[in-house]
Every structure is written in structure tokens, then in C-alpha cells.
Symmetry: C2
Subunit: 328 residues, 2 copies
DNA sequence: CTATTTTATGTCAACGTTTACCGATTCTCG
DNA sequence: CGAGAATCGGTAAACGTTGACATAAAATAG
């Protein structure tokens, strides 16, 4: 920029005062012409922020990851902040390792999906280093940091109540990964619904999966091998529910004729499955958006991280074609 | 770090010479104790690199995105580089806008998935600003930048030949988004296979989708409404193939009894569908890994961006349960 | 035991911005 | 027309690290 100091360029581009309209105009035109952009490293150095937001998650289904990302990105859209993805497996067994990874990544803030959002050791580390965090659907220590939740137990209760109200009593249950607190919350809801219906839960019909299709398939086969066979399967996510449908079909059973199947999450697979899955909409996108929104508000000093930071999002039971009254 | 200059700390942590073992040890212990990490902005400023790699994609299926990400992240695992996700829709109509977004993001390099990898205007911009890029499955200007491809036409040929060899002749075809060059490449392969089998392509049985489930469903319904009905559907990705299965079922047709369906990509839905989809494995993960690997090699000066940068990855026809000989 | 090399530690400047401050010019109003 | 205010442009310093260079201390050779 001939004849203009860096300072003037800076002022012109940042719409700061003390620059004449003529110069500002000239500088902006030249910048656009050359596709000039201020060096972010230098800006970061002086502003003491990187304008990077991290997102950590653990081996979940693709559609969940994409919903998370899109939700967060929707809020970041203005391009001021950028989203860094940091998947990390087996947090439960090594929370400090994830902590070091996050601290080294030079982030301004971090969004924690389950199960990382429920690791007190990790939260401790982040706090010790003043790295603000947003927690998406945590299940413990709900007063720490920015918290976005849905009522997992109520959602579990709704879907279980749906099957019970259709008349099912022999209901198989496929749990998710026990290290995800969501698994416990949903089960709690199932118990309430069974209790309300005066129906006991048969513990032999409760098997543990890990939210993946393959393990879900094996679990479903195990349930369907019992006799008398369950008339319905309640899976703790849609991938495992889709696996249950496949297991039923492989045994020659019709869904929902011979077996009703309900999932959880309203993920893409719940719509691409046939029949489409009865499930519970977990508003992942909105929750991620909200968490990002409040995290950024905190970073920009528009809101404090402490205080009434919890926010609940509504779930919704989606009754689709995979559930029907039992045959007999 | 009492009694030690920043310079010494720097040398100690970077395993640079001119530091006594004792001091190095002491510094490293103190750093570990305090979870001290050098300021990345300052390092970036002096090194003139951000250690950020971007990944751009456009509204594809979740499992494709996740495969891309995981592939790239697998290569970045040492944590030296970080991955920034920058989804961007409708590149074809505004390539410069994406260019500006990428240039402003302060990246060291960028991985371009389709269709961004096929936008000459975008590549021009990136080159003008010396931003290295890796292109994942481009279909034009294959001599520009780092290129990772698979032979899309050969893959299309394989899957079409599979249906033809089963005896199908009335084969409906659901194309993907025409702005994705992959769509053309796959169709080219279909044509070759039909030509080899001496079977003409009935253009009334060719409909255009956009790689999404919903549009795929409508396209499939359109095909199945024709009479005589096609005995097989060749969809250009798995989501649309899953939609074709659903459309068939909704019409009371059995798959593969009354209708064979083949997809493309070997995405998660091809395994969670029932019956599991015959498809072509597109080694997205490996390609993303490879692209990231070579991009980083270029950034580290270990390899030049120019030169024999193209690399082909092998596809593989996966015959599963959704295809069988026609009924009549 | 001195001369020379090797090793260890420290100082200065630079990376590209922005904040804080200062002087010069132009404008406003009495 | 002159005093004060507002506006415009510029300079110095700082952000935290590292490369280049200088100096001091220790090791080695003759």
C-alpha cells in the first residue's frame, strides 16, 4: 500500500476512526484487489486469542458428528471463529491426555460432546488453564461451565411408554456404551415408564451394546434367540435399532408385524431405514448451535461463563412405521 | 521459569542444541508440571505458518464427511497440524466466495473434496496466493496440485456390468448432482458396461438426483412407475440406493426378489440397509489420508507440489444382498 | 599450563499487527 | 479572525517466540 503506514491500513480495514473517507476507501479497494487479509497469527498474538473453537467427540455415529458440526458451524458462520475438530477415543480411561491435546491446540474455547463432557478430571484441567468450555448433554456436575441439555430420562420414558401403550410387555432393551452417561439417563426413563405401566423390567431382556451397529446386531440376535421372544426392542440409539431390524429380517421376522423396534436420536439412519424408525428427536444441531452461541458470547465478554448457564432443549417422540401393537 | 531466559526454555523444549542436560531436564519437568505450552500464535507468526489444514466439502452424506475427516485426521495424528472444517454449499455458483473464505482462514494448506476440487477459478485463486491444496477425486485438470483419484468410470463399469451379468436389461439409473463431476464419470462407466454387453441404455430410465435420500426416493418412485417396470436400479450413491429400496418396499416390491438395487460408495448406510447394499467401495478414508500426507509433505518441504503428484486408489465391487438375477 | 575448540547461556532483533500516545491539520463557533 | 475542538496521520512499544550472533565457561589438545 504505497504511501500509507501499516497503522493506517489497520485502521481503515477495521473501520476505526482517525482515517479520512478517501483513504479508507482507497485502502479497502486495494485490499479487495489484492485479496489482502491481515495476518491472523499477528492478530492472535496481540489479541491473545486464536479465534479457534474446538469440538471433541468420541466415535459416535456419523450423522451425530455431522449434526454437531453443522450446528456449531451455523453459529460460527460469520467466519470470525473457525472450528477445529478433535475426535478422541476412550476419554474415560485417559482424560488428562485429551486435556493436554486440547490445551496444546491453542483454542479459545472448546465444545465437549459426550462422554468427554462428563469427565471431571478434564473439566478441572480446562478450568485450571482458563479454557472456557461448552458441554453438550452432560449428565453430571451440571453447574460447571456452559451446559446444554435435554431431558434424557423424559425422552426415554416417552419412547418406552409408547411401546407399553401399544400393548407390548416383553420388551428387549439394548443399552448404549455404559461410559456414556446418556445410557443411564435413558434407562432411567425406561424404568419410570415401566413402573407407571405396572410392568416389571425383565433383566434378562436387557443387554449392553455400545451404540454401534455391529454390536447392536449381536445384541439383537441374542434377544431374539430367547423364548418366548420379545415382541418389541427398545434400542438406545438409531444405529442399534437399525441393526435390530436387520437381525429380525435375517430371522424371517417382519417389522413391525412380528417385532416392533424403537430407536433414539432421530439420526439419518432412522429415516433411511425401512420401515422408518420410531425414535426420539434429540435436537443435536440446535444444542450444538446453542452451546457455540453461548461459548462465543462468553469469549466476547458478552456473558459470563458462570451464572445460569444451563439450558434445556425439548425432545420429541417421533412415531413412525417401525412400531405397532404386538401380533398375538 | 526462574533464572532461565525464554530463549533457553525454547531451546530446551525444542530439543535444540546448546542446552545442558540438567537445564533441559529441569525445564521439561517444569513445563510438564505447569502444563505449559508455547504460544502458538507467536510460533506461527515467526514461522509464517499456522499449522492449520482446512477441509472443504459440500452437503454430502454424513458418512462421507466423517470418512474424509477421519482419513485426514489419521495423518495429522501427531498433533502438529490441526484440522479446520469449512463446509461450503453451491461452490459451482460462487467459487471466489469460497476462495476468499479459505484465504481468510489463515490455513497452511487445504483439502478439497468434490465439487470444490473441480473449480478452476478456485484453484487459480489458491495458486495466486500460494496456498497449497490437495484435491480428492477431481475429474478435470488432473495435472494441477496434489491429486488423489480413483477410477470412477471403471468403478461405474464394474457395478453396471454386475447387474448386466445377472441378466438385467431394464435398468433404471439415478444420477447424482450433475455439478459433481463424479456423476459424469460414473455414468461414463455405466455406458461402457452397457456397450460391452451390447445393451442399449434407455434414456427414459435415466433420472437425475442430487445424492440425497429424499430426492433419490422421488427419482426411484418415478422409475418404478414406468411400465414395464425396471428390474434393477443403479443409484450413483448409497443414500439414493437406500431410498430406492424404500420406494420399492412402499410399492410392495421385494428387494432383491422383484427389484435389484446397487449403490456406490460403501458408506455406512450400505451396511445398515436391509438387505445390505451391493455397492462399490470408494476408499474415501485412504484417499483423504493420502491427500493429507502429501499435502503435509509439501508443506514440510519434503516433496514438491509439482511433479508426479497424481495417485490412483483402487476401488472394489462389493456384491451384497441387494442384487440378484431378475425374477422372470 | 596455555591455546584452541566445544558447549552453554544470554542479548538483540524480527515476525505483522494493534494499542497508546503525540503532533499537525482542519473545522467550528464566538 | 482566533481559540478550542475534532479529525487525521504517524511513531513507539508490545504480544511470545525463535534465528542470528556474542560472550562466557568448560573441555580438549599441544
Amino acid at each position: 500500500m504505497a504511501g500509507v503506514t501499516p497503522k493506517t491500513v489497520s485502521r481503515a480495514l477495521n473501520d476505526a476512526p482517525h482515517v479520512s473517507k478517501a483513504v479508507r476507501q482507497k485502502v479497502k479497494e486495494a485490499a479487495a484487489e489484492l485479496d489482502y487479509h491481515p495476518n491472523l497469527a499477528a492478530q492472535s498474538l496481540i489479541a491473545r486469542r486464536s479465534y479457534l473453537i474446538g469440538l471433541t467427540y468420541e466415535r459416535p455415529s456419523p450423522s451425530y458428528v455431522v449434526d454437531l458440526q453443522n450446528g456449531a458451524l451455523g453459529r460460527l458462520e460469520d467466519g470470525r471463529y473457525r472450528l477445529v475438530v478433535l475426535p478422541f477415543n476412550h476419554v474415560a480411561s485417559r482424560p488428562e491426555e485429551l486435556g493436554r491435546l486440547l490445551l496444546r491446540a491453542g483454542l479459545d474455547g472448546i465444545l465437549l460432546a459426550p462422554p468427554a463432557c462428563d469427565q471431571p478430571a478434564l473439566l478441572d484441567m480446562l478450568e485450571r488453564h482458563n479454557l472456557p468450555y461448552g458441554r453438550i448433554t452432560p449428565h453430571s456436575e451440571l453447574d460447571r461451565g456452559i451446559v446444554v441439555t435435554m431431558d434424557e430420562a423424559a425422552a426415554g420414558q416417552d419412547v418406552a411408554a409408547h411401546l407399553l401403550s401399544l400393548g407390548h410387555r416383553r420388551i428387549g432393551i439394548i443399552l448404549g456404551d455404559p461410559s456414556h452417561a446418556a445410557s443411564l439417563g435413558r434407562m432411567e426413563g425406561y424404568r419410570r415408564a415401566f413402573g407407571d405401566a405396572g410392568a416389571p423390567i425383565d433383566e434378562r431382556l436387557v443387554v449392553t451394546g455400545d451404540f454401534t451397529y455391529d454390536v447392536g446386531y449381536r445384541a439383537a440376535r441374542e434377544l431374539l434367540a430367547q423364548s418366548p421372544r420379545p415382541t418389541a426392542i427398545l434400542a438406545q440409539n438409531d444405529d442399534m435399532a437399525a441393526a435390530a431390524i436387520a437381525a429380525a429380517r435375517d430371522l424371517g421376522l417382519a417389522v413391525p408385524g412380528d417385532l416392533s423396534v424403537a430407536g433414539f436420536d432421530n439420526s439419518e439412519v432412522s429415516r433411511t431405514a425401512w420401515p422408518q424408525l420410531t425414535t426420539v428427536n434429540q435436537p443435536v444441531r440446535q444444542m450444538a448451535w446453542d452451546a457455540a452461541d453461548r461459548l462465543i458470547a462468553a469469549l466476547d465478554g458478552k456473558s459470563d461463563v458462570s451464572g445460569s448457564q444451563r439450558r434445556d432443549h425439548a425432545h420429541e417422540l417421533l412415531v413412525r412405521a417401525s412400531t405397532a401393537p404386538p401380533a398375538n
